[in-house]
């Protein structure tokens, strides 16, 4: 610790701190532009000049390390003179266009110019003009306003992992730009809008639509991936105009993914369902709530009476709130149906009934950064969990070794220690090899059940390399973590992968867990939205069609593991009651009644994130049209059906009942499986499908966000294969191919070369209208030239 003095106040700071950090500790503000706590130090704006005793010149506070006994003056005459001088220089080339600048009112330059600027400039010459750049559909540019702080550049290089922006040319002509003809395509691009201290980079979807001081703000929680990033939702006249990150170091730090930042556009989609509708004689009619609710309750009661409660199935979106799920399962159980599930994309349910608790991350999100060895199993990590990938990227730079076992070698923009890329059917065998290799390195006996696996089938060397990396960590792997991604959880042998991960973590003395796929992947368990003994899980209730379905917040044809089957079963059903913020053609075809419910922005509710943290939020805006919060709709349905225990006055009461109080973290988190049977056999005949859920197609809201749909990540699906597979099928990249999945249905897609795939697999995205007909996410495909 060092003792220093800032503006006469003494304080203790850690060795290696800079003056700006020390001042921050004291609550003293030093003006700055280029400095950002999460980025490397550039020290190029010079706004942070301060006076340091015995130093002949003013010093940049962001780049000057503190020394013992140092005396710093942040507001002395010398310091202020230097700061004013810098400001004058910064304003030389900065346009005076604040009245037409979107940053106006939230601009650091504007704010600091008020404090340090003069009312007139000595500069008489011409100002420079910089051509604007096309950075894609999300970020709009006015490059003449750029003060060349390079924050945006450092963000792409350091946080997003690939330098997509740079500063070209020199001196007065220096320009921040992407490489010629390129846009900024990272899934984290929106953060450069927040980072830019001036109005050079602003939000394209938000452009010119409101002033910051006209907006009301509400804290909220992201309804997308399992992290539950904290949001500030900004509204004007009850319309969500913008979403910004709410800093939470334990979850999203100060970042948001583009999906979380821009999905709000979907809230005002033309497909919003704003009036209750019922189908009568094949015709859709808009009706009053009372009519629609009556209709729905009668339909459900009729089916329950004639066919028994088990004839009803409940499909709940994993993005639904805890309260919605809790009331939905209560409603279904009240009707005597045990067929309730929110794990729509899961295909292996063999662990049900054997789980010791709720599967979760197995650690705190913030602890991911403390792991020194990490194995990610089955995950399109950068797209499925961009902010976890970001954390691991930083860990890798600090020396942590990250490895991956997966069926696609997408560039994670993380320095990897080892990787094993194998066809989906072989992932369990390769993971088993890792377990065996770790056991060997540790000199302990591995599970005898693993003895025979592999045997020439799998890449044993890659597995050994992963094992060596894991064991090389501190205390032989005590700080190692095994993270199972979405692909591993959706895998047809998910339980085996989980059991193997458990063995591996056991051998290492480390931890293992699941990267929650959706906002409420843990909350669904807490809400008891899963079938217990005798009930049907999500896959079973679609495979074995029900007479009636209750669908909450999901579009099963796109959100289920087998969209085609979901569509067929829903279409066959006598009554499908849908609670949804949106309507779609598919819904109009299969539903009997459509109840317009609020998306996350228009209801209070709770998401339990992947670390088990309970995060509740209030509505940020009034419901659109006649939409109503789903928990209220379910409550009324419960009352209409004369069910007990639906007397709730607020969503807080529902939460209190569901969680037994108001805990900070839910209880019962446990990844263990009792008596798991390992299923290590797999020999699919033919080409295996690797199905990713593209980042901007993962849920109904983001699928309707227009700007995101134009982003590079939203490209139409293709049939991706490696060179050997293409050659074996007699194809070239770009050929149109007919892809079939056993049945009669086939889709035509362009073939695309993807060097990162193993032999014998075809990668085709799921959750996309173009590929629904292919059915199950994991299947064997036939591919031929169209």
């Amino acid at each position: 610790m060092l003792e220093i003095e800032i503006d006469g106040k003494t304080l203790q700071v850690a060795d290696g701190s800079t003056i700006i950090e020390a001042a921050h500790q004291l609550g003293t503000y030093i003006p700055h532009f280029c400095y950002h706590k999460k980025l490397s130090i550039a020290a190029n704006c010079r706004m942070c000049l301060v006076q340091v005793e015995k130093a002949p010149k003013p010093m940049p506070a962001c780049a000057t390390p503190v020394t013992n006994g140092m005396k710093v003056f942040t507001h002395s005459e010398l310091a202020v003179k230097a700061q004013k001088g810098v400001m004058e220089f910064l304003l030389i080339n900065h346009p005076l266009d604040c009245p037409i600048c979107d940053q106006g009112g939230e601009c650091q330059l504007q704010d600091l110019a008020v404090g340090y600027g003069e009312s007139a400039s000595q500069y008489q010459e011409e100002k420079r003009v910089v051509p604007d750049k096309d950075l894609g559909p999300l970020v709009s540019t006015d490059m003449t306003r750029c003060i060349n702080c390079t924050r945006c550049i450092r963000f792409t290089a350091e946080i997003a992992g690939f330098m997509e922006l740079g500063q070209s040319f020199r001196g007065e002509r220096a320009e921040v730009m992407p490489f010629i003809g390129k846009t900024v395509d990272t899934e984290l691009s929106g953060n450069i809008i927040d980072l830019c201290p001036v109005g050079a980079l602003t939000s394209k979807p938000f452009r010119f639509s409101a002033r910051t001081w006209e907006l009301s703000r509400r804290k909220s929680v992201s309804p997308h991936d399992g992290l539950g990033s904290n949001l500030i939702v900004q509204t004007k006249h009850d319309r969500v105009m913008r979403v910004l990150p709410l800093e939470n170091e334990d979850i999203n730090e100060c970042w948001l993914t583009d999906k979380e930042r821009f999905s709000y556009q979907g809230l005002s989609s033309a497909e919003r369902l704003t009036k209750p509708m019922v189908k009568q004689g094949g015709e859709w009619k808009e009706v009053d709530w009372s009519v629609a609710l009556d209709y729905a309750s009668h339909a459900l009661r009729d089916v329950a009476k004639t066919h028994g409660g088990a004839a009803i199935g409940g499909l709940l979106s994993p993005h639904a709130t805890l309260e919605e799920m809790y009331l939905a399962q209560k409603l279904l159980r009240g009707l005597d149906s045990e067929n309730i599930d929110f794990r729509l994309r899961q295909s292996d349910f063999s662990a049900d009934g054997k789980r010791k608790g709720t599967p979760w991350l197995g650690m705190k999100i913030a602890d991911i950064g403390r792991l020194d060895r990490v194995l990610v199993v089955g995950s399109f990590l950068r797209k499925d969990h961009p902010l976890v990938a970001q954390r691991l990227r930083q860990s890798a730079k600090r020396g942590a070794q990250i490895s991956i076992l997966h069926s696609a070698d997408d560039d994670l923009l993380i320095k990897l220690a080892a990787r094993a890329i194998a066809a989906p059917s072989q992932l369990p065998a390769v993971l088993a090899e890792v377990v065996k290799a770790v056991a060997e390195l540790k000199g302990v006996a591995a599970d005898p059940a693993l003895a025979k696996v592999g045997a020439g089938l799998v890449d044993v060397n890659a597995a050994k390399k992963i094992a060596a990396s894991l064991v090389s960590g501190s205390d032989g792997g005590k700080c190692a973590g095994i993270l199972l991604g979405n692909f591993a959880q959706q895998h047809p042998q998910a339980a085996t992968l989980s059991a193997l991960a458990q063995q591996l973590a056991g051998l290492l003395g480390g931890s293992f867990g699941f990267l929650g796929e959706a906002a409420n992947s843990v909350g669904g368990y807490a809400a008891k939205a899963i079938p217990t003994a005798g009930g049907l899980n999500a896959a079973a209730m679609l495979k074995d069609p029900r007479h009636a379905y209750v669908v909450v917040g999901a579009e099963p044809e796109l959100d289920c593991a087998d969209g085609a089957q979901a569509l067929a079963s829903l279409t066959k059903a006598a009554a499908v009651v849908v609670l949804s913020p949106f309507k779609s053609q598919a819904m109009l075809d299969y539903a009997a009644v459509l109840l317009p419910v609020s998306p996350f922005s228009e209801t209070s509710g709770t998401f339990v994130n992947t670390e088990g943290r309970v995060q509740s939020f209030y509505a940020a805006a009034k419901p659109l049209g006649e939409a109503r919060p789903a928990w209220k709709v379910l409550r009324v349905l419960g009352n209409l059906l004369d069910l007990n225990g639906f007397a709730f006055n607020s969503s807080e009461e529902v939460r209190a009942e569901a969680l037994d109080g108001q805990p900070e973290f839910v209880s019962g988190l446990d990844n263990g499986i009792d008596g798991a049977t390992l299923n290590l056999t797999a020999s699919p005949n033919g080409l295996e499908r690797v199905a990713d859920v593209p980042i901007h197609f993962s849920d109904p809201l983001v699928r309707r966000a227009p700007a995101l749909q134009q982003a590079a990540d939203s490209a139409a699906p293709t049939a991706r294969m490696n060179a050997a597979t293409l050659a074996k099928c007699g194809l070239a990249s770009g050929d149109k191919v007919k892809v079939g999945a056993g049945g009669t249905a086939a889709v035509t897609l362009p073939a695309q070369f993807d060097a990162g795939l193993p032999d014998g697999v075809v990668r085709i995205a799921a959750a996309h209208a173009d590929t629904v007909a292919l059915g199950a996410m994991s299947s064997v495909l036939s591919v031929e030239k169209a």
């Binding site: 330098m163 922006l165 070209s168 020199r170 490489f179 010629i180």
Partner: protein, 163 residues
């Protein structure tokens, strides 16, 4: 991104490898300046495809190589004439006739800075200090040949030489 025409030749790659070998294995990009020179010598100028190819070969982001290529005068981001003349107009030279030398060349060739003569023979560029202020006015021919004390007479001679 790189099409066949713009791939670097095996000779160029060999030369680049020699430069790369001067730096630690994990700092290949330190060779970017030399690699760009080699690529430009081969192609005549640096197209975005060439820059991307160099960046790819050195394992760096294309924009990072472009930052370098656009920073220094010796790299040409547009095709240039057979002879590229760079006249230093920085202060020490300007005080000793640098600007006059440039004006003289402009008049003789009938082109301004950043222009190429119609016959494709000469391109004129404005340069920054070449570290030879004592020899002012100075000019650089094709980035490599330094010419000192460039008074009109010397300029005439130089232009006549450049066939």
């Amino acid at each position: 991104m790189t099409n066949q025409n713009d791939m670097l030749s095996p000779e160029a790659i060999k030369k680049i490898d020699r430069e790369v070998a001067k730096y630690p294995a994990d700092q290949k990009q330190s060779a970017v300046m030399a690699a760009l020179v080699i690529a430009q010598d081969e192609k005549g100028w640096l197209s975005k495809e060439t820059i991307a190819a160099v960046a790819g070969y050195l394992g760096m982001a294309p924009i990072a190589a472009y930052e370098v290529a656009s920073f220094y005068n010796m790299y040409d981001l547009q095709p240039v004439g057979k002879y590229k003349l760079t006249v230093c107009t920085n202060l020490p030279c300007a005080l000793s006739g640098g600007v006059h030398a440039a004006d003289y060349v402009k008049e003789k060739l009938g082109i301004d800075f950043n222009e190429t003569t119609a016959d494709g023979r000469f391109t004129l560029k404005e340069g920054e200090c070449m570290g030879a202020c004592g020899d002012a006015p100075v000019m650089l021919v094709n980035n490599k040949r330094m010419c000192s004390f460039m008074l009109p007479e010397q300029i005439d001679k130089l232009l006549a030489e450049c066939k």
